[in-house]
């Protein structure tokens, strides 16, 4: 019984190697295991990512060469020197203890191979660390701040009178073709800023001033994600980077600096539209928030978001603006020029011009926004809008869930309740903030 398996073992080895080759070639041709997704590290769109990929390729080729040699010898030795079983009549193999020359030679060869990797590695470490000296004058500066579980972006070069720097959330718009130096900060735990197509990640660490730089060669739309485990909803802490040409970028900055757009309320008595226009059935947890239509041309989608909707309902918008105050949204969210004054949540002054919501998780459609406002905990468990600001053991500003400061626990009741009708008005208001 015990030896009959050997021939088939050989067959398995052969078919395995075939499978491995198929997977490999299939992988690189993007059919079985694609590496060309929105967060691909191969589809580099800037000098930092390119420098990192170049180093990666050096490591791949060097190790692949060593692998082919060592594995070849190993495979050859295994098959060449194989015997069926212990046979007392067969003479023993030579009981050699080694060969110092061979051993030293192999050590020298491995050191040589590592030097091939070390040289480009060192060069790239310095190159990727900060904006190269000669480009520093041209560099654009932004601050990226990580919070549980979203990103806040500040533009220190774009000061608004009486309001400090321009602030946005979850979508970082940068000038294309210019190095961007990003100061990385956090207000709670460690997060990590990663836009694979533009460059590797650097962590945002409390009590530590980190920075990174990257550059998008051309205008484009890029996916990013927090890469350091940062608590319950780490998996859904995402963001986008949008690179714009010089003119577009300047226009965008100018538009963002403006206070929030106001839609004039209609005369009292104007009928309010019905709610039947979009799907408000409760979606499952983790329900996807992307669409193939959007992914086909995200830049076109982004551009479309910069203009007011054609079917705006002025009455609903006015009602939404009231509700935004009544439902205490204003205590956490700023809407510059309107009632919103809060600084703990994302700035919503130009929320309607963003392509995504809930930290790059859902496309900014009315359906998704409705879902987010009514059932935020289905979208992002543990989020502050739901749980309140502070921590789960010490809420300092109550969210949707009612909190009892005496017993330091959630009461199980609701502090903020938003019904479908109210949510509809809020959606309309927020989408009007272009």
């Amino acid at each position: 019984m015990r030896l009959r398996f050997v021939p088939s073992a050989r067959r398995i080895t052969a078919s395995l190697s075939l499978l491995a080759i198929a997977v490999l070639t299939g992988g690189w041709s993007n059919s079985v295991l694609p590496v060309s997704g929105p967060q691909s590290t191969f589809d580099t769109q800037g000098p930092v990512a390119r420098a990192q990929l170049d180093v990666f390729y050096v490591t791949v080729w060097v190790t692949l060469a060593i692998f082919v040699i060592v594995a070849g010898v190993l495979a050859y030795a295994t098959f060449k020197f194989r015997v069926k079983d212990i046979d007392p009549n067969r003479p023993m193999p030579p009981q050699g203890h080694g060969n110092p020359l061979v051993e030293l030679g192999l050590i020298a060869a491995s050191i040589g191979a590592l030097v091939i990797i070390a040289v480009p590695t060192l060069r790239a470490i310095w190159y990727t660390y900060d904006v190269p000296e000669e480009h520093r004058a041209n560099a654009y500066e932004v601050n990226a701040i990580g919070l549980q579980w979203w990103f806040k972006f500040e533009y220190p070069l774009e000061q608004i009178e009486g309001a400090g720097p321009l602030v946005t959330g979850n979508e970082l718009v940068i000038p294309a073709g210019r190095p961007v130096r990003i100061n990385l900060r956090t207000t709670d735990v460690i997060h990590s800023f990663w836009v694979p197509k533009l460059g590797g990640k650097v962590d945002m660490i409390p009590n530590r001033g980190n920075h990174m730089w990257l550059q998008a060669d051309n205008p484009g739309y890029f996916w990013g994600q927090c890469a350091e485990f940062c608590g319950e909803s780490h998996a859904v802490m995402r963001f986008r980077v949008i690179a714009l040409g010089a003119e577009d970028f300047a226009a965008w900055v100018e538009a963002q600096k403006q206070p929030a757009r106001s839609v004039e309320a209609p005369a009292p008595g104007t009928p309010v539209a019905t709610f039947a226009s979009y799907d408000m059935t409760r979606k499952k947890r983790n329900a996807p928030g992307y669409s193939a239509e959007f992914d086909r041309d995200p830049m076109a989608a982004w551009t479309a978001f910069q203009f007011p909707d054609k079917d705006e309902d002025a009455a609903l918008i006015a009602r939404g603006r009231e509700l935004f105050r009544e439902k205490a949204c204003v205590t956490c969210h700023a809407v510059r020029g309107h009632e919103g004054m809060g600084v703990t949540g994302p700035d919503l002054t130009h929320f309607g011009s963003r392509t995504t919501l809930a930290a790059g998780l859902l496309e900014n459609t009315k359906e998704h926004l409705h879902r987010w406002i009514v059932h935020p905990n289905d979208v992002k468990p543990g989020n502050k809008m739901w749980m309140g600001i502070g921590t789960h053991t010490n809420v300092t500003m109550t969210g949707y869930l009612a909190w009892d400061g005496e017993t330091k626990s959630y009461t199980g009741k609701r502090h903020i309740e938003v019904n479908d009708e109210e949510a509809r008005a809020l959606v309309e208001y927020l989408h009007s903030l272009k």
Binding site: Q39, T41, T63, G200, G382
Partner: protein, 653 residues
């Protein structure tokens, strides 16, 4: 003066009349009492093995749940919170409760046999180390049965996510406190065990067994033990600081108080990287035993294999910050750690070259242990090469915390450590149980595990390079990650089936397997010279004298001269009163119980209970100190029958 005292001293009584009940040494060799009070390194080794294999299965189930959740995008199989608990506990379990103790099982069982000793240097301490390990294992897992659930901060527990503010789901959530105290308790166990192994290897080698004749597995035991005692203090400091922050309001890692979260990372990884070698060096030792046996020639370049183990251990303390390439350390530090990490590839590569050299020109018999050992070389090579890719810091900036890293270390830890440990179980099974595992089923389990493992983890390289971050409970379907994730999940279930076959066969063989003579592989090292399988309590009828590196191989080729020598040594031993054996004791268990109770209450911030636990611990220590050294003698007649035992003749000291 010493002479005068000795002269004046007269022994009051050779045999104490009776001892108070609480100092009586238990004598049961079998049954529950026999196991609870054992000091026999072989029984303790088996206890470690059974416990670690149990936790290996627990960790495996956790992994399967993770893979089910990730099988398809936007899945709702488990919640984010539970997912975070699962990946935290999967890693913690596999590292501290499966691979480390399974290695400890081999150290315990095989190392004394390999050096021709009758037990470890401190038998009671050995028992204590195991019971403390059990205490730590329970502390880490007890959270599953509470409202808070298991720890959810990641096995690396990066501050400040571990602070009261960010890790407590409600007031009184102690899951993180249990994790902190559990790891400290496990550290106690590991350090004590390691000190015991070091003293044993240095002091208790058989006559003629010089250091450069030590079996490579014993060498790796020694290096691992040193790595443990040098690296665990770092994590213990970090854990104590964190415990102080959480329990008594200090500010080591509290940002608002000026604490430095980055400090945690340095302390953690200066432990964490040597820990990687703690997990892999024993595996390398096992493979270095199996390859020469099944190639029927000595290890190629023994001195350089041993020396490279030492170099790996040494350099292992100088590369920790390669886990922190993305923390913004600056160019100089990043470059230094990058180069040091590349350097460590050299001694690792040397081992692979020497294993290939061992095979070259041999007579390779591909029995099941050898299949796993060869699988180890292949898979470890893959993991090693992706490791070199990580050492290039700029490339690592893309790979860090992505699935590429997950692929890398699973190739090292499953393809490396686990394959070698599974090889070791098959290899030494006939020695330990006197039965041999079926070749067909053994090889079948190997191939299923091999295929399942690669199907699970090979696609993860692509996932990582395609930008999928690790520790994410859910992903969107438009990222190009669907195929690889589904394949990985299917692979995980194939792997699970393979592991299932493996253990089913092992359990079957234990009860019903074919009986065998213990030197079934025509092996080369001393552990195979035991007179019976399973080995008797005293291991060897006659303490072996070692004449060559492959001691048993030498004995087989010099049978006549060895027989005469053994007869001479046997007579000498009998003239000195026979074989001296250690007595069993309750106190290791009592002391460990005290530690467990104290730690459990401390984690719940109940300091009265903690003091009670400390009291029990103190009682255990006192009993341990005052029950006396114990010991008894065995006598082996020339025909192999053994007489004597606990209570039949009290040792004279």
């Amino acid at each position: 003066m010493a002479t005068a005292t000795t002269a004046a001293y007269t022994a009051p009584e050779a045999k104490p009349a009776s001892r108070p009940w609480f100092f009586a040494r238990p004598a049961a060799k079998t049954g529950l009492v026999g196991w609870l009070t054992t000091v026999d390194h072989k029984k303790i080794g088996l206890l470690y093995a059974i416990t670690s294999l149990f936790f290996f299965l627990v960790g495996g189930i956790e992994a399967l749940l993770i893979r089910v959740q990730l099988a398809v995008p936007n899945n709702t199989f488990i919640s984010h919170q539970l997912y975070n608990e699962l990946f935290t506990m999967h890693a913690t379990t596999m590292i501290f409760l499966a691979v480390m103790p399974l290695s400890a099982a081999f150290f315990n069982y095989m190392m004394p046999l390999q050096i021709g000793a009758r037990d470890v240097a401190f038998p009671r301490l050995n028992g204590f180390a195991f019971w403390v390990f059990m205490a730590g294992a329970i502390l880490l897992n007890v959270g599953w049965f509470t409202k808070a659930g298991a720890p959810d901060v990641g096995w690396f527990g990066y501050a400040p996510l571990t602070s009261n503010a960010y890790s407590n789901q409600f007031v009184g959530d102690v899951s993180t406190d249990l994790w902190i105290i559990g790891l400290q308790v496990l550290g106690v166990s590991s350090v004590i065990g390691s000190l015991n192994f070091i003293v044993t290897i240095i002091n208790m080698r058989a006559p003629g067994l010089t250091m450069m004749r030590l079996p490579v597995f014993t060498w790796m035991t020694l290096f691992t033990a040193f790595l443990i005692i040098l690296s665990f203090p770092a994590i213990t400091i970090a854990l104590v600081e964190l415990m102080m922050d959480r329990s008594f309001g200090t500010g080591f890692f509290e940002v608002a108080m000026g604490g430095m979260p980055i400090l945690w990372q340095h302390l953690f990884w200066i432990f964490g990287h040597p820990e990687v070698y703690i997990l892999i060096l024993p595996a390398m030792g096992i493979v270095s035993e199996i390859l020469p046996t099944f190639a029927r020639k000595p290890l190629f370049g023994y001195p350089i294999v041993v020396f490279s183990g030492a170099v790996i251990g040494f350099l292992g303390f100088g590369v920790w910050s390669h886990h922190m390439f993305t923390t913004g350390m600056g160019t100089i530090a990043t470059a230094a750690f990058s180069l040091a990490t590349m350097a460590i590839a050299v001694p690792t590569g040397v081992k692979i070259f020497n294993w290939v050299g061992t095979l070259w020109g041999g007579q390779i018999i591909t029995r099941t242990p050898m299949m796993f050992a060869l699988g180890f070389i292949w898979m470890f090579m893959m993991g090693g090469f992706s490791g070199v890719m990580h050492s290039a810091a700029p490339a690592d900036a893309q790979q860090q915390d992505s699935y590429f890293v997950v692929a890398h270390f699973h190739y090292v830890l499953i393809g490396g450590s686990i394959f070698a440990l599974l090889a070791g179980i098959h290899y030494w099974f006939p020695l330990v149980f006197g039965r041999i595992v079926s070749e067909f089923w053994g090889k079948l389990s190997f191939w299923v595990i091999f295929v399942g493992f690669n199907a699970t983890f090979f696609p993860m390289h692509f996932l990582g390079l395609n930008g999928m971050p690790r520790r994410t409970a859910v992903y969107d379907g438009n990222m190009g990650w669907n195929n690889a994730n589904l394949l990985a999940t299917i692979g995980a279930f194939i792997l699970a089936v393979g592991i299932g076959i493996y253990f089913a066969v092992i359990v079957y063989t234990y009860f019903k397997g074919k009986k065998t003579s213990h030197d079934i592989w025509d092996a080369r090292t001393l552990e195979w010279t035991v007179p019976t399988t399973p080995p008797p309590e005293h291991n060897f009828h006659v303490t072996p004298t070692v004449h060559a590196r492959d001691a048993f191989w030498y004995e087989k080729t010099h049978a006549k001269e060895i027989a005469a020598e053994k007869a001479r040594v046997a007579a000498e031993t009998e003239a000195h009163g026979g074989i001296h054996m250690p007595s069993q004791s309750w106190y290791p268990l009592v002391t460990a119980m005290g530690l467990f109770i104290g730690a459990l209450f401390f984690a719940h911030h109940n300091y009265t209970g903690a003091i009670v636990g400390a009291g029990i611990l103190l009682v255990g220590v006192l009993g341990w100190a005052f029950e006396g050294p114990g010991g008894y003698h065995l006598h082996v007649k020339p025909d192999g029958t053994v007489t004597g035992g606990e209570g039949q003749d009290e040792a004279k000291h």
